[in-house]
Every structure is written in C-alpha cells, then in structure tokens.
C-alpha cells in the first residue's frame, strides 16, 4: 500500500499555517468537528470544537451560529522549567500527519530546549468514528539528554469564543474522585447544555504511574496540574480521554443537566477503560467498515496526489455529515471552523449530496429530510415575502428559523461602509436546488418511502413558490426579476438563466408527479394539507420566459449581462488569492462588468445536460470561462467536468488539480475559517461524475467514463436503485459488479442501454 496516498503531511512547522492545518487536518464524525489545534498554544491558532446542530444566537444583532465549544486539547508542558513551544529553542524531525486510513492525527518532533536539553515528543489524537462522543489523546515525552521534571497542566477550557462572541453561560465545574474533571456550559439563547467529562492518566514506559494532582478551577475552566520525574531515555505517556454530550443529543431529550452530567461521567469511565489504543483501534476499524472497505474510490494515477485528494475528500465528506440526526445538515465549512457560522447553503444539494446519494444513501436521505423538516421556516419565509409555498432560506440553521443570512459583510473600499449581503433576500434559486436534490436522490435510489413521506411535498411546495414568485412582464411572459444567480458578482438581476430554467423545471416536475399520483390516497392526503394548484403550475410554466441561446449559442446569463463592459481580466485570472478584484473595484463597479465569480450558465448546462446541444455547450464554455474568476470554491469542479465533456482532457485534469488545491494547496490562509465543504464534494464529483462519467441524465443512470491520460484505472462504488455496484474503469474495459444482487439496474453505458444483473464487462476500443 502506498502510504503517501493515505497521509496528509505537514513537514515543517509554520506558524502562518496554523489555521490551515487546523482546518484541513480537522477530525470528527458528523456529530462533532475538532480543529487540529496543537496541544501547546500559539498566537494565530484558532482552536475550535463544533457540535452539529447546536446553533445559538449571541445577540439579536447577530444571526445564530454553531458555537465554539470548550477546548479539551490544550496541554501546558513544562520540561525542567522550560515551556515546550516550537517557537523557542530549536527542533528537528518535525512531522504532522493525518492518516486518512485510521483517522488518527500524529505529530512528532525532537525538541532542543533553550537550555540545550533534548526531548522527543509524540502527540496522537483520535475523534472516535465508532463512539461519536469520544475524543482520545496520547502524548509521549522522552527526555534524551538528562532526567526531567515534567509539569503538565490540562483540563477543559470553556473560555473559547467565536471571534469574540461567547455563546455559553458558565455552568457547573466538578471534580469526581479527585480524578475526573467535568465542565458544563449552556448556550445563552438556545439553552443547550454541553457536558464535557475528561480523564487524564499517566504512564511511565507503558506502566501506570501514580502522580499527585493539583486541581484548579478558574472562570469557565477546570484544570489538573501534574508534576512528575522521568529518567533519561524513559517515556512518560499522558492519556487523556474526553467525552461530550449535549442536551440536543437525541438520547438526552428532556433530560435535566444533572442527568446528562451523570451519564457523561459513566460514559467516560467506560471509554477511558478502553485506553487510547483501544479507542483508536475501534475507530480505525469503523473507518474501514464505513469507508475504506466499503466505498473507496481508488485511482491508479502517475500522480499520487490524485489518490490522496480523493481520500481527503472522502475523509472530510465522512466527518462533515451529521448522519445521526435528520434535524441537522452540512455547513458550508463543515464542522471545521467558524466560517459561514455552520449554516447550510445550496452547497449541500449541488456539491455534496451526489456523493452521499451514490455512496451513503441513508445519509443523503437524512440531509433531504432536514429540508423537509425545515419546511415551516421555508413557508414562513415565503409568506413574509408575500408568496406561497416554500421559499427555502439561502442560509439555514434551526429548522424553524427560516432565513439566517447575516445582513452585512466586509468593508466597501470606496465608502468605508460594510457591504450589505443580499443573498438571504434575493438569491432564491436555493428553492429549485432543494427540489433538484430531492429528485436526484429519488432517481438514483428509487426510494418511494422517502418520496411519499417527504419528497413529493418538497417538490410541490417549491413549485407553488415559483408559481407565486413569477411576475408579469410587458412582453406578456412571466419573469423573475431582482435576484442573485449562482454568479454572486451580479446583484438584483432580472431573468437569471439558471433561476428561470430551474424554476420552469421545478414546475414541470411537480406537474409530472401530480399526474403520476392522481387518484392515489397519498395525493388526497397531501391535498388536505397543501394547496396543490396544478392548473396554476401549468399556466405559469407555459408562460415563463427562459432565455434561449443566441444565434452564436451563448445563453445570456441574465437580461443585462451580455451588454456590460468587458475588461481585461488577466490580472485576476492569474491571482494568488481569490477575490483580488475587490482590491481594485467595489461591488457596484464589479456588477457593471462581464465578470463572473463562478460557474453560472455553465453550471446550468452541467446540471441540465440533456437540454443543451454540444454546440451550445461549447459556445457557452468559450464565452463564459474566460470571464470567470473562480472566486468561489464551487466553480472549479463544475468547469473540470464540463471541460472533460467537451474533450479538453488536459484542461479537465488541470482544473481537477486546482479544485484539489483549494484546501490542500499552498495557499496558507484560504482555509483558516474551515474547509470548503462544497468544493470537497466537487473533488469527488470530478473523479466519479467527471472522469468516471457516472451521471443522472434526465433521471436515467448513465456511465460514460473518460480517464485522464495519466490514470490507468479508476475504481469506485455506487448505490444504484438499491444495488451496491462496484465500478472499475480502465483504458480497456469497464467492469460493473453488483454486490447486492437483489434487483437489476438499467444503465446506459457509453451510449448503449444495459441491464446489470450480477456483472457487466464492457471492452473498450
């Protein structure tokens, strides 16, 4: 096994890369996300622990966000009176490695203290994928040059904030049995109790070591201090096991704080009894079971970075999804940072959902159930804006909140005033994105139960929204004015192509399913609760204006785009940091140029590929790509797949590599606030939907692989209509193997219709 295709490495310690490594080496399990902050503290660090679905509003002037919970990683290490820090003294053999195979983070270094004393330190850490409430740490300290007096200080620190906003009131702090530490914190507005319980154990050369403990409580903090001696060459091991439970956990529903505390303590004792090694082994086995043995994407590429990037994507897609609770969804920065406040965007449906639909359909279903459970907020939002049906919030948190997009962002360089954020008000395509997600899930899985309970209602209610949203135009047609399309460099545009095409599609889909359900008890039941006005859908769908391609094939992104001025974008196309155009122009000025933040018409073409001819695709690619700055992390994967579709193989691979570099690349600051969840979904999409060629086209499963020159083979798994299928693509053949074998699957492969029963082997060339 090629280890460098499994391990994300940091070879040199760089204080400027603290935030980046914390994000991309984040550990978690969908319940919690733990940034990879180091045990010793540094200026510039951004320690973070986020628990899915625990949103809190700090103040009425802010929107709710995922609170940054207490830190349990910090460890003050004092060696013969010198504080361990890589900023003092010197060091060698530094390495930090996140092993995707096991989920374990390991850091080691040989540190020479300012005094000249030399130590070897190892830091291991696991967030259990098996028991989602457990974090395990192990630290090993070996003095090489002399005997050492080691002073350790570690505990639970609830002083963490979200960039200064403190979401918790201080709760109980307890020591039990002069050993276990516990800290309670409660969110100030949503009133969620967080209970942290931790146990610290010391060993010398692997044998338990009895050490006097000094306990300390400070504001929002509980700590233990240990002092012990260790002889030259011996190894002191510190094992710290922490469990976290909250009153939002489904099994804690209705519990008093004291009950959660008692449960937390008991649970900790059980977990601590397994020891670090036991917990790490258990978690690694779960990684195998759920991901690496189950649904791996394997690529034989000349560039080992490709395989690593796909592992990176699968790793993060696994730890970002709160599959355990359908009241929660994926945040734009996953659970890996404060960015975007843990809110859910269209990123879920358009960029992440395809992964789950094809590999973990239960998780996909849970994510779309979240949308169903969010209908109260979506209906409220529609109503508040004078519409009917369900208008989904651009940013979504609590099920009943509706819209939670903040109203203002960064500074306008011209006026000095904060820029208003309009997405929450007018970026309305999210409602058809949700509909698209539901439909794709259904097309891939055939899950009738989901559709009957949730899916049809979501499709009908979004259609009803669109019907109410359309405006009469002077041309006798219906229009959608004053929106933001996927290209967020254009505010308040009329007849955005993406929005209008998908609105019509949404109406047609509702009509199709209404027809299909006619005279069923299900439709009757839905009609009791909902206003299902088929005729209105039909009338509106008939009259909606949808911009057709011009004579040259170019589809106008919106009513005015093609008339805006063109400027030389070379400087920004070759930028090192995204958004550099804002250094020269303000948002209003950018709105007056033919420049796109991200894929817009091209995304429409990818998602509705059956609707456009190859000529139209090519024309739009040629027109829009040069005008697109890829300033959104969501842009590159779309362009990668389309480039492949058009036969630009080298371009496709180059875009794939750029997409992989969004988080894994050399830019030190771009991931500080968390990884780019949508873009990570995009990495997988590039490989499987792009090079692997697996798509849903018009609802039908299609396979049309096109491996890059440098790839010999690509193997992946996809659940298709309830069957788990192993798909192996090489330059010479395509092999499909049905591992479930309870049904057949119809699939179009390279233009030919096939039925997969047990196995298909298609020779190429």
């Amino acid at each position: 096994m090629k280890r460098d295709e499994w391990i994300l490495k940091e070879d040199g310690f760089n204080p400027m890369a603290l935030g980046k490594c914390e994000s991309i080496m984040c550990q978690g399990n969908g319940y919690l996300g733990l940034r990879a902050a180091t045990e010793e503290r540094y200026i510039g660090e951004r320690r973070g622990l986020f628990i899915a679905g625990t949103f809190n509003q700090f103040h009425e002037s802010e929107v709710c966000e995922l609170p940054n919970a207490a830190d349990c990683l910090e460890m003050g290490i004092d060696l013969n009176g010198e504080t361990f820090s890589l900023l003092s003294g010197t060091f060698k053999d530094y390495q930090r490695e996140l092993d995707f195979e096991t989920g374990e983070l390991h850091r080691h270094v040989e540190w020479t203290a300012p005094s000249g004393d030399v130590y070897v330190l190892h830091f291991y850490r696991v967030v259990s994928l098996q028991n989602i409430h457990t974090i395990a740490q192990r630290v090993e300290i070996t003095p090489l040059s002399s005997h050492a007096t080691v002073k350790l200080s570690t505990g639970i620190n609830g002083q963490m904030t979200n960039s200064g906003s403190q979401h918790f009131s201080e709760g109980a702090k307890r020591f039990y049995d002069r050993r276990y530490m516990q800290l309670v914190q409660t969110t100030t507005q949503s009133n969620i109790d967080f209970v942290f319980t931790t146990d610290v154990k010391l060993l010398e050369n692997g044998k338990a070591k009895k050490v006097d403990t000094h306990i300390a409580m400070d504001r929002r903090k509980i700590f233990s201090a240990f002092t012990t001696d260790i002889s030259k060459g011996s190894t002191l091991t510190i094992e710290k096991i922490t469990t976290i439970h909250t009153s939002r956990d489904k099994n804690m529903d209705g519990c008093e704080t004291a009950e959660i505390q008692a449960f937390g303590l008991e649970h900790l004792k059980v977990q601590a009894a397994l020891g670090y090694a036991g917990l790490a082994k258990q978690s690694a086995e779960t990684w195998q079971k759920l991901v690496w043995h189950n649904i791996p994407v394997t690529v034989d590429s000349k560039n080992p970075h490709h395989q690593l990037a796909l592992r990176f994507a699968q790793y993060h897609l696994q730890i970002m999804a709160p599959a355990h609770d359908n009241r929660m969804n994926i945040g734009a920065k996953a659970l890996s940072g404060e960015g975007y406040k843990g809110h859910t965007f269209w990123d879920t449906e358009i960029f992440a959902l395809p992964y789950y639909i094809f590999t973990q359909p239960n998780t996909a279903r849970s994510l779309e159930e979240y949308r169903y459970l969010s209908l109260p907020g979506a209906r409220e939002k529609a109503k508040g804006n004078g519409y009917t049906g369900a208008q989904f919030p651009w940013e979504s948190a609590w099920l009943t909140d509706g819209e939670v997009t903040p109203l203002f962002g960064a500074a306008d360089i011209v006026t000095g005033l904060p820029i208003p954020i309009l997405t929450g008000l007018i970026e309305i395509h999210i409602s058809c994105d949700v509909c698209l997600g539901v439909w794709q899930y259904y097309m891939a899985t055939g899950d009738e139960d989901f559709m009957e309970k949730y899916g049809y209602e979501l499709i009908f209610e979004t259609a009803t929204f669109w019907a109410s949203r359309l405006e009469d135009g002077a041309d006798g047609l219906l229009h959608i004015n004053n929106v933001i399309g996927p290209d967020e460099y254009k505010d308040g545009v009329d007849d955005d192509a993406f929005t209008n095409y998908f609105a019509r599609w949404n109406l047609h889909l509702a009509m199709e399913y209404y027809d299909k359900l006619k005279d069923t008890p299900l439709l009757a039941r839905l009609q009791e609760r909902l206003t299902l006005d088929y005729d209105k859908w039909a009338e509106k769908a008939e009259k909606i204006y949808v911009p057709a391609p011009r004579e040259d094939g170019v589809i106008p992104q919106n009513r005015t785009f093609l008339g805006l001025k063109d400027i030389d974008l070379t400087k920004y196309k070759t930028q090192k940091q995204v958004g550099s155009i804002y250094n020269d122009f303000n948002h209003e000025q950018i709105g007056e140029m033919q420049v796109c933040k991200q894929a817009d018409v091209l995304l429409l073409i990818l998602l509705m590929e059956a609707a456009f001819t190859p000529e139209v695709k090519r024309a739009n690619w040629n027109y829009y790509e040069p005008r697109t700055l890829h300033d959104s992390s969501l842009s590159l994967s779309t362009h990668c797949i389309l480039a492949g579709d058009m036969g630009d193989d080298d371009e496709a691979l180059a875009l794939f590599e750029r997409a992989c570099n969004i988080d894994m690349g050399p830019n030190l600051q771009s991931s500080n606030d968390g990884v780019h969840a949508g873009s990570i979904g995009g990495i997988w999409q590039c490989a499987v939907l792009g090079f692997g060629g697996l798509r849903l086209v018009g609802g039908q499963i299609r396979l049309a692989p096109k491996l890059p020159e440098s790839w010999d083979k690509l193997t992946f798994y996809a659940w298709l209509r309830g069957q788990k299928v192993k798909i192996e693509v090489s330059k010479t053949e395509i092999i499909l193997e049905n591992e479930t074998k309870t049904a057949t699957v119809e699939i179009e492969i390279n233009g030919n219709q096939h039925v997969l029963t047990d196995m298909l082997n298609i020779k190429l060339k």
Copy 2:
C-alpha cells in the same frame, strides 16, 4: 534627580511575567485603565482596557463586571517577511520602563530575526492624564543590517473578552476619509456604547510618509495594513492615536450612538493633530501639576526602592480613582485587570481613602458621594434581609444594584465542589467602614457642605442598620451573630470584635451628630425623609456586647476564636505564594484553627487607637501576628504601622518592604489579575501615617513621626482642614509649612498641641 527612583523597569523579557507587567505597568487616568500589553501578541498575555463605571452583566448566572473593551494596542509587525516576536530569533538590550514622572511607557530592543537581519525597535505609549479619552502610541523601527520591507497591521480589535465572557454586541465599523478607523461596541445588558476612533500615521526619519493602506474588517475588528520600504539605518515611525468615548460619559448623556461617533471622530482629529510628542508632553505636564509638583512624597532613604515604591503608589493611586464622576468608585484591582470584576470593596475606605482625604480631598469627596448615591441599593439590601437603614453591599458596582458579590469561588479540594462565597451575605462590617470613611473625610477636611448634603445621612442610615441588625442574647445583651470579620478565614462567627466595636461606634457617632444638629432645619429635612430614632440608637448602643480585653490583654477576635486549635504555621508563614494553606486544608478545616488571613483585631486597634492602652496593643500584637498569614494584601500595611507604633522599627521597615513587594516584588503571578489597589493605598499609609506619623486620632489631627533608621528625611503634603500643608520630617526637626494660609490648623505634634498659621519648625531631641 535619581532616575532609578522614578522608573519601574523590566530588564529581561520573560513570557511568564507578561501578566504581572501588564498590571503593574498599567497606564490610565481614572477614566480608563490600559494594561501594558505589548504591541506584538504572546500566549499568556491578558490584554485589557477598562473604563470606569461601565459595568455589564454577561448573563443572569454571573454578576456584573467591568467589561474588557476593544484592544487598540496590537500591532502586527512583519520585517522582510519575518514576524517580530521576542520568542523567535534573538535579542539584546531589551528594556521596558514605566516612567512615573511622565506616565510614559517605553520599551526598546535590538532584535535579530531568524534570518540574521537586525533591527532596533522602540515602543512608546501614553494614556493622557490631560485628556482622559486619549491613548497615544509611537513605534520606531530601524533596520540595521539591510534595507527592509515593513508590513504593519493595526486597528481596533473588539474580540477581547473577560476570561471568555463577551460583554459587547458588535456595533458599527467605519473608515472615514480612507484614514480614520472607528469601531462601536455596546454592552449587552447595560447598553453602554463604546466608540473607538483611531488614526495611524507613518513617518520616515521624522517626515510624513505616504503609504498605501489596505483596509480590512472582520468580526468585531477593523484593521489597516500598510506596506512600506525603509532603507538601512533609516527610522520608520508609526504614530497611532486613539480616542475612546462612551455613552456613560457625563457629557454624552442622552446622545445617540451616531452623535458619539461624530464627536469621537472630531475629537480624534483634534488629538491626532497634536501628534504623539505633543500629547505626551501635555500629559507629562499634567502629571507634574496634579501629582509630582503638587503632592509628592519624597524620602531620603539608603534604599532607592523605598522612594520608587512610594512613586509607584502615588502613580497608581492617581490612575485608579475615577475622580471625574461621582457615580463611580475604585475597584479592588483598580482599572488594571479583570480581578474582582472592577467591584468596590471596603478597600476604598480603609486602605485608599486616607490618601485622597489628605492629598486630593475633592477625589475623596467624590468617592464618598458614590456611597451616598449608592444608598438606594444599600437600603434595598437591608430591606431584603429584614433590616432597616442602609446595609452597604460587600461588593458594589452600579449605584442601584446593591450586592454584587458572586456566590461561588474556586474548588474545594476535598469535595471537588465550588466553594460558596459568603462575604456578600454576611461580611457586614462594610457598613461601618463606609461610616468611618465619611467621618475621617469630615475630620480631616471640615467639609460641612459634604456633611449636610451626604455625610450625616450616611452616618444616620448606617446607624439605623446596626440598630436593626443587633440580636437579643440570653445574657441580656445585644449581639451580632453569623458574620465574617476582616479575617476571612472565619465564616459565620458571632460577636466579631471588629464588627461589634465599630457598630457601637457608628451608633454613638449618629447620636453625637443628631445632638449636634438638634433644632436645625437640616435635621428637620432629614427627619422628613428618614426614620431617625435616636432613642433606639441609644438603647442599642447601651446594650451591645463588645468584647473587652481578657486579663492578659488579648481581645477575642470572636466568640470562639481563642478556643480553636493552634497548629504549627511555620510552613505557611514562610510561604512563597499566598493562600498555600489551602493546599493542605479546606476552608472548613481552616475555620477550626487559630489562623488569620489578615489583620483583624489589630486593624481594629489601629483604626480606634485611642480606645486601647499600649499594653493591650502589645498583647494583641504578640498574640495575633504569629497567627496571621498575611494572605490578604491588605494585611501587611496595617502590621507595618502597628509595628512602628510599638517601637519595632526594624519589623516595621521589613513589613513596609513586604507591602511594597505585593505588586512590585518577585512573585510573577500574583498581580496577573490586576494590581492590589488597597495594598497600594497601604504603601502610602505606611510612609505617611506610619513613619510620617500623620493620623486622625479621635477625629483630631496628630503628627508623631518616627523615621526608620535608614531614612534621613521624609517630605509630604497634606490637606488639613482646608489648608495645604507641606510636612518635612527629619531626624532633627519637623517643619510644617501652610501653603494655603487662609486659616489656622490645630494639630498635636509629638504630644503637644500646636496651631499652624504659616509655618512651624519643631526641633527634635
């Protein structure tokens, strides 16, 4: 002039001393207190800016506290791509100096970056004593080894918290004229707007330098980034001027936030026009005018540390007192840290007030007016406990809040539970402490206007409280049960000597003034509003039990103390950190031993010195001092003065030096949370009331100096009955010079009654 008697120095950079230096080198002006955090950030720093009287309650589970406002000191300095930090590279010639004479803080260092590039950096800082809203910084950077590209980042950072508690909601962030930065933050519960406005200017070799500015807003943050080049040997100077205004400022009363913002901007422009040098000069002149020319305490001692300590005391006593606003008082940690939450304790009256009474009587009056204005809260507290009159809160913040003592403190090492804090419930001597402060102010100043408006009412209302608080005993006498005396190592004791003696005194004082005011319109007016029950006061005062000295002269500290077990305290008497007894015993166990945290009976004897014979004083000294651990910073000065009274001159000087070392001494951690305001008052008391021998005895002014062996001369100023008197004490003579000369002053000097008209010269020996 001996510079080392003016300058508090840190010679070597020690990351463990960050908190201590931030506190003891704190700058301010009574309006604001700014901890001496460095421009570059370090782990372990505790940046802090506190504005007097701006209390906020983070959450109902916490008491209100002075919020830690935005930081305007931070400056990210990047030199040829290397971040300036004393933890990287090497450095020499490091020195940080706080010059008491000018109030200026200066730090300089020659830094060799990891690359080998060498730079000299100077950091200057002033908090204006002239304009209390202004902070001025100057930074000078000179590259010695090569040309340098300098990147600076500085602004206003509102992400600061009080150990994690965020007291502010995020307000407006503005850039004006692409130059001035402004940030607004508003306390979440008390709704006070804070407006920070700042200007940054760059100069090269003293000449203004035009540099491109990149502006950035983040959450709760507004920053400017500058990049510029500087040639080898040239000096880049950065001047940053910041103004702070709040809606609690008296002149901002009733203003809208926008008005404060506009005022802040205009005010900043005026201040910035003066430049750093102009502002620093103005402030230094004000220091001369208010303190160093006006009321200096000068000592000719063989040990220069003595003079420095007295300057340290006068410096901090000047910057801690909110003399500008009688709705505010002094916090136990002044405005120098989070400790004790900015709350006011008895420390004001017993330890700090004498300084102001004698040197700045207007400030003393303002501090006691605060108590008068706090009467609503004190009456509420009495009423809530079933009493009448005014029961002052042990901890005091807002005028109407009443008690704000937190209910729980640190952990009990035996049970693992937080220890309840009972002081707010039962440490009731604060009410007679307030009465004593009022009376001392009156005795020293003769300020009838104060007494008529505030003083008599305070004395009557506290007397009424005591009358209602006394309990019938089986012995036919009245008792005060279940209190904490000054010795806080004993909870819930009965007949605490300090409390009972002073309660009786308070009753007698009320009776005396009632008699004096009989048949005046003033008394009639007071009687309209208050229940003044002279007979009840008299009856209660008559029957109150006050513990007399035993046969051996020892006064029982309380009903049980002398029967408690004695243990060997050697280990704790020689401790390095206060409170070490808690490492071996819990609070309950300490309550069962004859061990005192601090002066208790001895403080009574000092404050009521006329009431006790020399034999009783000696007996109690001999009994209690060996049983006192001085675990309160308030203990040493009392013992110093008493030691001198008893002729233990060496002991007195040793205790004086220990008192000076509470903040200035070698203990690196003891001042992290702020300086010890009461103890700093104690330093001055040791010199002026102790060695200088200036006292109020039974309300009469008395002078009985007794210089330590190593002191040749002590000169100080005291306002006595409206006359400013310069007092010069040497081994051979005492010279009093009346600088005001509008009245005569009766004063007892070394046992003889004198009348000071213009000058007195008393030969000794």
